[in-house]
């Protein structure tokens, strides 16, 4: 009995040790790039590398922010991400609702199509779209890019929102209808408020997906770059302080975002998997 107790404590300590090692595995690289980003520009080139910036300085970070094109590209990235997250939820949520609430002919086929586009290699899409956009005078436009990002985010949005709506009991909506609501008002007054947190989480996820997207962004824009497109197109010529601070800058929204979304993470995925 005593032995079992000891081994359980040992097992627990061991699990904690592994957990802490894994925390370090995730956080250390982020910390290291933060050290670089908050050094002086000269500090970025120092070797051997210190574990703390000495002195702590905003020089490198400000150098990046003030570099040509960074502010404009950041603005472009935000515009593209906002448009595509709104469009994706506007187009995706109704489809998700249809999958969750209606039994209709072809729904299995539709679901299968959405699922296969979810895993679709988006690398194949950008080049043909570039050709088409050039023909139609839509090339190098952040709005065209926002449409492409919408499409890339759409399958995920349909599946996630379908699981969100499926999680709202149908009884509630029907009860509202017997109490005098029609289909639309029952949806707006009952289902929508209950689904809202999940929908918001899916939307935030789409924002980050668009903010991070590189390949189609760098193919489909030339002068109107998004931030990742700007940084990747100038990798060969940009100095280390620019790249390091740029990496941290691109990661900042994701760190904040995970704080908001973590409560919904498994609600979203968990339900989808069942």
């Amino acid at each position: 009995m005593k032995k079992a107790h000891v081994s359980r404590i040992l097992g627990r300590t061991g699990t904690y040790a592994i957990a802490i090692l894994l925390v370090m595995w995730v956080l250390l690289p982020i910390y290291l790039i933060a050290v670089m980003s908050f050094s002086t520009k000269a500090g970025v080139y120092i070797f051997p590398k210190p574990l703390f910036p000495k002195p702590v300085s905003a020089e490198t970070f400000l150098f990046f922010i003030n570099s040509t094109g960074v502010l404009k590209s950041t603005l472009n990235s935000v515009i593209v991400a906002v448009i595509s997250m709104i469009l994706a939820i506007l187009v995706g949520a109704p489809a998700g609702y249809a999958l969750a609430r209606f039994v209709f002919r072809g729904s299995d086929l539709y679901r299968l199509a959405v699922i296969s586009t979810r895993a679709f290699p988006s690398v194949i899409l950008s080049i043909p779209l570039a050709v088409t956009f050039i023909q139609w005078g839509m090339y190098d436009s952040i709005f065209s890019l926002a449409l492409v990002h919408t499409a890339i985010n759409l399958p995920f949005t349909v599946l996630i929102t379908s699981s969100v709506f499926a999680g709202v009991p149908k009884d509630l909506e029907e009860a509202a209808q017997t109490l005098g609501c029609n289909g639309a008002t029952a949806f707006v007054r009952v289902t929508l408020p209950l689904a809202l947190p999940g929908l918001a989480a899916a939307t935030l996820f789409n924002f980050v997906g668009s903010w991070n997207e590189v390949f189609s962004s760098v193919i489909l824009t030339v002068r109107n770059r998004t931030l990742p497109a700007l940084i990747i197109a100038s990798l060969n010529v940009s100095p280390l302080p620019y790249r390091f601070a740029g990496a941290l800058f691109m990661m900042l929204p994701s760190l904040v975002f995970m704080l908001f979304i973590r409560r919904y993470l498994f609600n979203l995925w968990g339900r989808v998997l069942k």
């Binding site: 051997p48 489809a95 199509a113 586009t117 290699p121 994701s254």
Partner: protein, 288 residues
Amino acid sequence: MKRVFVKQSTPYLLILPSILFLMIFFAYPTVEAFSLSLRNQAGVWGWETFRTMVTDVAFWPALKTTLILTVIIIPVQFTLAMIMALVIQAKLKGAGFFLYIFSIPLAISELAAGIVWFAIFTNSGFLNTWLMQLGLISKPFIFLSYQYMGWLIFAVLMAEVWRSTAIVMVILVSGLQSIPKDYLEAADVFGASLWQKVSRLIVPLLRPSIQVALILRTIFSLQVFAVAMAIAGRAMSLLASESYRWYIAYRNTNVAAAYGALVLVLSILSSLIYISLLRTKPEQEMAV
């Protein structure tokens, strides 16, 4: 009568906009990619574009490196993700905190991840600093050079595993939560070791989740691009970076599209292999 019609058409009206989007931005470009690959730059149909792609010096290295990366990333990543999932599942105090930390990389961009690991592996980087402080080397070792493809692959592998293991973990944790507690308790009662529990109980029961994660991660690692660009630049050829190079540097949309088509063919092949090997119904589970 009219009301019945409205009711039946409602779901179709709801999915219609998304179908339009998927047709314009998935179906059409996919067909167009194959049609571009089957024409030359002058628009004449034939195998010339494929021949140009296959005979280019970068083609076989790109294909080989992409496949090597994928074959190494997947098992490393699944092992790590399973450890993370088991740690979360152990219900330690602070499990919420661990979960938050482990899932951070889910939202980190490929490009940022590539630059972070470049900072670690570059000549004047952190790895060389630590190796010298430990006295293992006397001067910085040049990890990121085309002369050491092994080290280049290793650096890209670390970055990819660091960045994209979180999604596998999320899928596995969701799957683990659906395993009835009785099963694990029964295994405990019969004195099963952790390894026995994982190999005999957890992995077989998680098969659908594992299949989803395998298909997704394989398809995404066939498209590794920004991570490798940030770490290796031109020293490493991959299928996606060749597509980019043919488009940007050589202005040849046909060959660029052919690389895209090749990635799609490889994706479909790998998915079919997983589906036939693991034999579960993917359509229920792929929804991640």
